[in-house]
């Protein structure tokens, strides 16, 4: 198990490492002069001043040197300063990151609570009208653009009915964005669960369990569900990343003050330090979550735990 986790950890570190390189390159891929963009709002900045800024940011140095400067600062917890307002990027991100994580976790919970039972039921009823109906519904769920679903929910539940608040950061405000994000992912979980369970149902050990004379419920609960959920856990890491990605859109609709909304604002404002910080944070969060889930997986699956 340890070597498995060590492998995952190495992969995670590698991901972060590659991200730092990509993020350093990002600013150089942007057409135009980043310093000029940074000082777009400043009156009468002279070319000499711009040169000064360029020097102070190290943009005049070769890219590898810039990379090491960037990583050096990074290790000190310095992600640079925002272009708009000149604030420490790390502060700006850390203030909002918990909101995004709360949203993603809540949406994940909704997705699992709705999706897994449906998928399990459909697998059990494989080939019946139940299965077909549920799976077409699931595909319809996946097909719904969540920016549209979000708007519809917003207008109906918050604006028209006034049941839920439309802004702010409280628990009630979490309901709509989490449901929006959770529903489409519930459909994904339903499909994943179904195929995983169908896989398990066709395994010999299920036949063994039946042949032993175990009652159907016990076979399903102990033999099918346990074995079938393990691949789902491995998928959860990836799904969490998708949740984080989906949060970018959903946060914008529901004024949820997370890093996703921040990132889109930053793209509009061409606030590259924030974009860099966002990508890096995203990578780190995704890596941490997937390592955590890998650990859970490694613990749950005896084939890995005891190897």
């Amino acid at each position: 198990m340890l070597s498995f986790l060590a492998g995952r950890l190495t992969m995670g570190l590698l991901t972060v490492f590659v991200t730092t390189i990509l993020v350093t390159l990002l600013i150089h891929l942007v057409p135009g002069d980043p310093v000029q963009i940074m000082y777009a709002q400043s009156q009468g900045t002279t070319p000499e001043q711009m040169e000064e800024v360029r020097k102070s940011l190290g943009l005049d140095k070769p890219i590898p040197v810039q990379y090491f400067m960037f990583v050096g600062r990074l290790l000190e917890g310095d992600l640079g300063y925002t272009i708009r307002g000149g604030q420490p990027v790390l502060d700006v991100i850390l203030q909002r990151l918990p909101n995004t994580i709360v949203l993603a976790v809540a949406a994940m919970a909704i997705a699992i609570l709705i999706g897994v039972p449906i998928g399990f039921f459909a697998a059990y009823k494989q080939g019946t009208i139940w299965d077909v109906t549920l799976m077409i519904t699931a595909i319809a769920g996946i097909s719904m653009p969540h920016f549209w679903l979000g708007l519809i929910l917003l207008f109906y539940f918050a604006v028209d009915l006034g049941w839920l608040p439309v802004s702010g950061g409280g628990p009630l405000n979490l309901v709509l964005p989490a449901v929006t994000l959770g529903l489409s992912n519930a459909a994904i979980f339903a499909r994943l669960t179904r195929s995983s369970m169908i896989d398990v149902l066709s395994q010999d050990f299920v036949q063994t369990a039946i042949a032993k004379g175990l009652p159907q419920k016990l076979v399903l609960r102990r033999h099918v569900l346990r074995a079938g959920l393990i691949p789902i856990i491995t998928m959860m890491g990836l799904q969490f990343a998708f949740m984080m990605g989906g949060a970018i859109v959903v946060e914008n609709i529901f004024s949820w003050n997370g890093v996703g909304r921040m990132a889109v604002e930053a793209i509009f404002q061409r606030d590259y330090p924030i974009i860099q910080g966002f990508i890096l944070t995203f990578a780190v969060v995704v890596v941490i979550v997937s390592i955590m889930l890998d650990a859970v997986y490694a613990f749950i699956d005896p084939r890995i735990r005891r190897s």
Partner: protein, 567 residues
């Protein structure tokens, strides 16, 4: 010994739904099974033998149609199947499956899986169940059984898992065990142990056993009575001695005739003088596989080939025999350069084959061709077979397509097919036909050497006999040199001039076929021979020889002209 009837199956028919129509897989089958009796149902693939077993256990897929009756202890388990079968599963009839790897739930402990049925059936509390499980594990020959309960299936070897499976089934004290190909997935030495165990259990507990198998050797060694099936119907039923001595049905006769026998007519080995220029020479091959774990580190290096050397004379057939993991397939793939070795040389036709590159390598490849085990996947499903056969011609010879086409036609005829088949796709052929196509593809580049990696082990025994005959004929006609990889000593006896026995990446014994089979010297070869089931119930069972524990064998020593044994 009582002889009351345990199971009476009358007029059993099973239909399966496929593509909106019903296909009958078992038709009008009747048989009886008494206590303390082992009834073998034997047949080739598609004979309906497994479906019969599944029907009795109520394990058929949804939508299956079953008619007939099966009286088990005064209950017709087929009538009102849901209720009745449920009641007798496990405690009345136990079942053992083919794949010990997948028949146990990988995420639950052995202990839980063994005891849960006892608990559910209300036969014991947990402590009691554990105790009985430990006893039963001990009984089936698993050492330190009390520590085993907390372990998971992946911590057991294949043979051990099958023992656990048997223990689990026996724990419920069933009156009848259905064993569906219980040893097919196991190596021959392990198979012998499991068969012995099953026989012992039947003898001791006087239960009945229904043994489903395709292997006549297993039947001869194990069964009391035999039911031969073909395409869902009964062909013949008789006591085991009667059947083998005096088969009535032509199909049974043909089947028995097709079974290769160890003591049967060995191919009379031709004499090949040790020439200085063998056509194929393998020198000191080493190959290790590393299982990747982590990103940088590689762990668990296993040596698949340890300093393997051998040579093959032109026109000779050398068989490489071994169980799974012996390195025989690795050797075949190393020789054909389908994988790269760590060190060593392969000399083909006085050319250092492993040193070749690019165009010259591709040219040299035409001299050494391969036939694979699985006839289903060894042909590109998207190529018409004509194109598949033509490909090597196309690559190696710059000839016109009409001429190439003629050559394809000739090759097809050579392997017993017709030229009009060239325009069909592989899936339109049967397994045996596909293996013929694969052989003709191997012949297309007019190779000198053919490496055949278990070319018949995926085939039914009657087909196997035909393919072996074809290979023998082609070898003679084309004076081919052949490297024949197999796990089956009986098959090897039929086709090879010399045999090399491999285990753990090493050659343990090498010599002329008759000497190896009739006068084996190395303990492992002896054990291997003693374990091989023989399709002759009359024959005295050989004494089972326990497998010697071999770590690293020493160098080969010539004990007699051409007969080498590892020290």
């Amino acid at each position: 010994m009582t002889s009351t009837s345990l199971l009476d199956v009358e007029n059993l028919s099973v239909g399966l739904r496929s593509n909106r129509s019903m296909t009958t897989v078992v038709s009008d089958l009747s048989f009886h099974l008494k206590q303390s009796e082992i009834l073998a149902i034997v047949g080739e693939s598609g004979s309906g033998k497994s479906m019969t077993a599944k029907a009795l256990m109520g394990l058929l897929p949804a939508g299956a149609r079953i008619t007939g009756s099966a009286q088990f202890k005064d209950v017709d388990i087929l009538a009102n199947a849901d209720r009745n079968v449920q009641a007798i599963r496990g405690t009345g009839i136990g079942m053992i499956f083919q794949e010990p790897m997948s028949a146990l739930n990988p995420v639950l402990t052995i202990g839980l899986q063994m005891t849960e049925a006892l608990r559910v059936h209300g036969l014991a509390n947990q402590a009691d169940a554990n105790k009985r499980a430990i006893e039963m594990l001990d009984r089936v020959g698993i050492s330190a059984p009390h520590t085993r309960l907390g372990q998971y299936p992946h911590e057991f070897s294949g043979g051990m898992r099958q023992r656990v499976m048997i223990a689990m089934t026996m724990l419920l004290e069933p009156d009848l065990i259905i064993a569906d190909e219980p040893t097919t997935a196991l190596d021959v030495t392990v198979q012998a142990q499991i068969l012995d165990l099953l026989k012992e259990i039947v003898a001791e507990t006087s239960i009945g056993m229904l043994l489903i198998t395709h292997d006549m050797g297993v039947v001869a060694e194990t069964a009391d009575r035999v039911l031969v099936m073909k395409q869902g119907s009964r062909v013949e039923e008789a006591g085991v001695r009667t059947l083998f001595a005096d088969p009535m049905a032509p199909y049974t006769k043909a089947l028995l005739a097709a079974v290769p026998r160890l003591d049967g007519n060995l191919s009379s080995p031709s004499e090949f003088p040790d020439s200085d220029a063998p056509i194929l020479e393998v020198r000191n091959l080493e190959k290790s596989f590393s299982k990747k774990s982590g990103f940088w580190r590689t762990q668990a290096t296993t040596k698949a080939l340890k300093n393997v050397s051998l040579s093959v004379q032109e026109g000779e057939t050398l068989a490489i025999v071994g169980e799974s993991g012996s390195g025989k397939s690795t050797l075949a793939r190393a020789i054909t350069r389908l994988l790269t070795v760590d060190s060593g040389r392969v000399i083909v036709n006085n050319q250092d084959f492993l040193a070749l590159k690019g165009q010259s390598l591709r040219k040299a490849r035409s001299d050494i061709q391969m036939i694979f085990q699985d006839p289903y996947s060894s042909l590109d499903p998207r190529f018409k077979i004509g194109r598949t056969i033509e490909e090597p011609i196309h690559i190696h010879q710059n000839i016109e397509s009409s001429q190439a086409r003629k050559r394809v036609d000739a090759l097809l005829e050579q392997v017993g097919l017709t030229p009009d088949m060239a325009d069909r796709y592989p899936h339109e052929f049967s397994g045996g036909q596909r293996q013929r196509i694969a052989i003709s593809r191997a012949l297309a580049s007019s190779p000198k050497i053919i490496v055949a990696d278990e070319p018949t082990s995926a085939l039914d025994v009657s087909i196997q006999a035909q393919v072996l005959d074809l290979l023998l004929r082609l070898k003679k006609e084309l004076s081919l040199t052949m490297l024949f990889i197999s796990h089956d000593l009986a098959v090897v006896g039929k086709i090879s001039d010399r045999v090399a026995v491999m285990r753990s990446g090493q050659i343990l014994e090498l010599g002329p076929t008759d000497r190896i089979l009739l006068d084996p010297q190395h303990p492992y070869t002896i054990a291997l021979l003693s374990a091989a089931p023989s399709p002759d119930p009359e024959r005295e069972h050989r004494l089972r020889v326990d497998l010697p524990h071999i770590k690293d064998a020493g160098p080969l020593r010539e004990i007699q002209s051409g007969h080498w044994v590892a020290t």
